[in-house]
Symmetry: D3
Subunit: 248 residues, 6 copies
């Protein structure tokens, strides 16, 4: 059930049965010479829709620009500053919490979002308490990273081993190939790839990881792998959402 | 050419030929009992993609939550505060301007966004000058409201006359029916509809316009109308974009 | 009745009869080589006082610096950034709303303020609701541009036709000549004047409109014209204010 | 020379000779049952104009709303929050500094502004250095409180002794009587007046100082006194301004 | 009684008896070639602890970085911008006020903090009223500058006369020598020292006061003097705190 | 080498040899009925000093209030909001980076700080690039959590097993007992302790963890254990700092 394809009266009816909502969040950032700039948003959105269908949960609009300042040395990257992203999440959750939603399950496609999201959640809880809105003490936000699902991680290791890397990974590229087969890129990859995990500023990032990848070999990705990752993530996050709802 | 389905190397190549980009912007807000909450984002995104294809221009990710504070009395609405939206637009444009983009053509689906967008543009021009980024004095942002295209306006008058109204209109509903025929809502509309144009706070809005519509009769919408509106808007905005680019 | 020439006990008494207030807002910006930098504030203040006398309404202190970032390429211009102006208007309205005022009629002298004012009003309504102050749902803010009064516009067309232009106009210059006859400037105007309506950043503005005027010929202005404009604006806005109050 | 009654070309010419400017700053706040709400702005503006004429200096537009949060328990008071006022002063000074002004002499009419002004100056110096504008290291801002001029203080003591008090004082009321003789208020004053100097929040303030005065007897004020205070302040601050300019 | 060495249950018990708290606040800034960068924090912390022991009052954690932008031309200086410091103080006081504290006695070691602290207090009172927390109208914040205690000032004059100066003073250096005898610096001082009291931006400051001192001769300081200053300050501020508590 | 016990000339000399600095950061928050409110700051400060001595590195002033909003349901807790903490860290690092520091090693005592610190680092890198300060691209910030050192974690498991818990842990209490043996608390602990790891808002936190502990048994702590933890952390973080410096 997509919020964007619902009416307000349908939302009103939904709230009678559930106060949970799934919020997809991604990023708009370079993913190496063959990875799509929308990779993180595409993965989060597709998987969130899958989870929403699986368990009949409301899915909000995708936050498709996140915290990617370290990627801004590559053209096409768009990033919120963390301070802006905190305000954005606070605004989103506040509107929905006033309407009665209390459980916010953020299906996230970008590791770089996690810290700022957690900061935003803390800021938001305090804000809602300050506003003293109804049921504010029941509002809970959860980060659910599809790429950190145990089953996803295991499959990636099996398929790609070390070549999974940590940015522009074959697993995420595979999911985008599954979702947008018409946008599979055939670019040549350099044999050398930037190694390591350190992330500081944008200039430093581009120096360490000259073509944008972090130790990954996205040439290994296939749409079929993408389907597998998608299925695993939907299943695991569907369970995760239900546990989150039931945890009270 | 969608930014989200491009790689950073493709963006780099695009910038050799053009420094223009189309930015779709909508809203996530109630549109009456039969209008989709995502109406404004859906219309802006679809039309922006159409324009992008027509004239081979880059299309950025849709800003799908805008300034809809006055609609927050209805569940499902999500709004940025204007001050947040200014920061968001500043962050977006700054990232892209640093990469070399200079002409930002915002295809907008929501009247309530216009004031804040203009404020954001002014704030952004000054910010870019303060940062002294390359070519900052050439950065230009333009609001292009699809629903205010002359051809669209004329057709809406012909088809619906007074019943077009000003929110939850048959013309925008028609476009969503064209884009998402599977999400056409058959709800019963009250015979009475809130009249007028005044917009103040959220509580006042709901009192004036009890079911969310402003003087409109969306029951008149059809997917075929939607196609017509879509075609007109794509054509007119394609021209608009080219004029904007050429105006220097 | 000027707030600045009243005591708090007089304000208290006024609030027994009316909760409306007129807020003049202008700008401090270049108006071409013969237009006063204070033009917009001077016009708004004079007309607001006129309206206040006409209908016995409270008139607040003039906001004499507004959103004029695009004029900052000319010395003497002072501008708030839009984000600052939003905070300023929020602070003003919040103070007055807590004291019992609910209808804010902003008599505006500067087109460049409009977008930011509307953004500020939206931000303010939400803020007042968050604070949950008494009668917050009745607070209404209105922009009333004296230069867009039908009667003013008509006279400007009659007197100046195309030479009215859109910045440093003979009509606004005429009003300042009427209010401050001692400050009529006799400078020579270039024969060429920047044409068009496009407004982006400050550097671009100065390039397009080298002496600051936008298509106007302020040499046509006379103090007698100014008196006519003043009278028309006061009459039309007095009615506008009363309608606003009565609209509930 | 009032900035508001000048053209940008006159400002340009002025800057050839001087980079100093006088900025009047007051407040919009209760001044007891017989004091004008605009007292602080009226005094600062009148004296600043006097100084400007005396020494042929540019005088900017009056900041007529300042930091008066502690007075907001009385209707008619308008206050900026300190954080807003810092942004406002930063915006003002930044615009003028970019145009070439370097010496900002704030003639202040309200004790409650001083702390925030000083905070704003510090914030602004750092901001200008960050922007790296031309001559930023020469920008200097000065608070000049007319009511703390030695000569003013001495006369107030002579005329009123203890009854000068510290808010709604006969000296400031006298100046407003001199400037606006038509607005002299004849209200009856309570025999009891709140004593002390402590200032905390707005509710506490009204409890301590029930009619708004702080230990003052404004009934002693006369327009003739006002003229004397005005003359002394203009003279002393004219010297102060020249010293400030010359101090380099 | 140090907050940092207490448990929350001890704080709960303390609040039964008293709602007052002492907040030490200093700065991290150059103090001339022989003064410690931590001087202001060290003095404030030591004296606050002394006062806390003397009268059995709770002492909060030291705010050891304050408003020292004008000292940032010297390495080692760390400063909050005033706008940040306002938020910091607002956050501190809000947390403690929600827990029941109402009297905040800030023992301050740095003149440059005063203006921003006062601005912060005003902002905070209004914020607490907006939040409508219990007893918000009783919250009071006080600046208590140890170096402006009458007894301290008198001793400094006696011991050092003109050579006390106004920054990197022998009196404050003496206190740090008393508190940290192991960190007494033996550096050679230039014979020339920057004179005057003017403080503007950081570059200007360093030009006026080349080695960081303002007219002071810290070579006169001894740990024994430090003990005297400490004792006087503790005694006078202990009385000051009790008066503040009792003033209601 | 403590920044607070150094002079600016010593800092200048230090910068000739190293551009690294250690920044201790803790929190001021409840740590259960027997844990000190300053626990996290005390541990971070002590260990940071130890590391500084071990390897002759500069140690900055302790950030003793961090992000502890979820603990604010217990009296004595003070927290910055994440948005404030981001500004604070940005201000700190900016001052020091302008002076020449480039490697910031934050020794952290509080898990709740991590997310906001990482957000702050990202915000800061972008800010320094915007300011275009010298060597901005070399600035690197690192979080180093003493309690997550492998050696520390291992010892805690050995000594306490499951009873280590995750807040108010015996390991951190032990370190405070080692540092402040005079402040060892003998309070009785409830047999029941809140279990789990979930952290949302402050009210929810107190409901889940009624006495503030999260699954821990701090009664197991001894000063001797504290010494062991301290030694291990100092050793491991000394190495970590050197690796960080050398990683370039």
């Amino acid at each position: 059930m997509l919020l964007h394809l619902s009416t307000w009266t349908e939302v009103e009816a939904y709230l009678e049965k559930s106060t949970g909502i799934i919020m997809p969040i991604g990023s708009t950032e370079q993913h190496g010479p063959t990875g799509l700039i929308g990779t993180d948003a595409i993965c989060a959105e597709a998987i969130a829709k899958g989870v929403g269908e699986e368990i009949n949960a409301m899915v909000g609009p995708t936050i498709n620009v996140g915290m990617a300042l370290h990627h801004t040395g590559f053209p096409g990257t768009i990033s919120l500053r963390p301070s802006t992203m905190i305000l954005l999440i606070k605004d989103y959750v506040t509107c929905l919490a006033k309407a009665g939603f209390t459980k916010f399950f953020f299906i996230n496609g970008h590791g770089g979002n996690i810290a700022t999201m957690k900061a935003a959640f803390a800021e938001t809880y305090a804000h809602l308490a300050d506003l003293n809105i109804r049921n504010h003490e029941q509002v809970k936000c959860q980060v659910a990273n599809w790429f950190m699902c145990g089953s996803v991680y295991k499959l990636a290791k099996e398929l790609y081993g070390e070549q999974e890397g940590s940015h522009g990974t074959p697993s995420e590229v595979a999911v985008t190939q599954f979702v947008y087969p018409e946008a599979i890129k055939q670019g040549q990859l350099a044999e050398e790839v930037g190694k390591g995990h350190s992330i500081y500023g944008a200039i430093d990032f581009r120096k360490r990881y000259p073509d944008g990848r972090m130790g990954s070999n996205p040439a290994l990705a296939t749409p079929e792998h993408g389907k597998q990752f998608y299925d695993l993530a939907v299943k695991e996050l569907s369970n995760g959402y239900l546990e989150f709802l039931n945890a009270g």
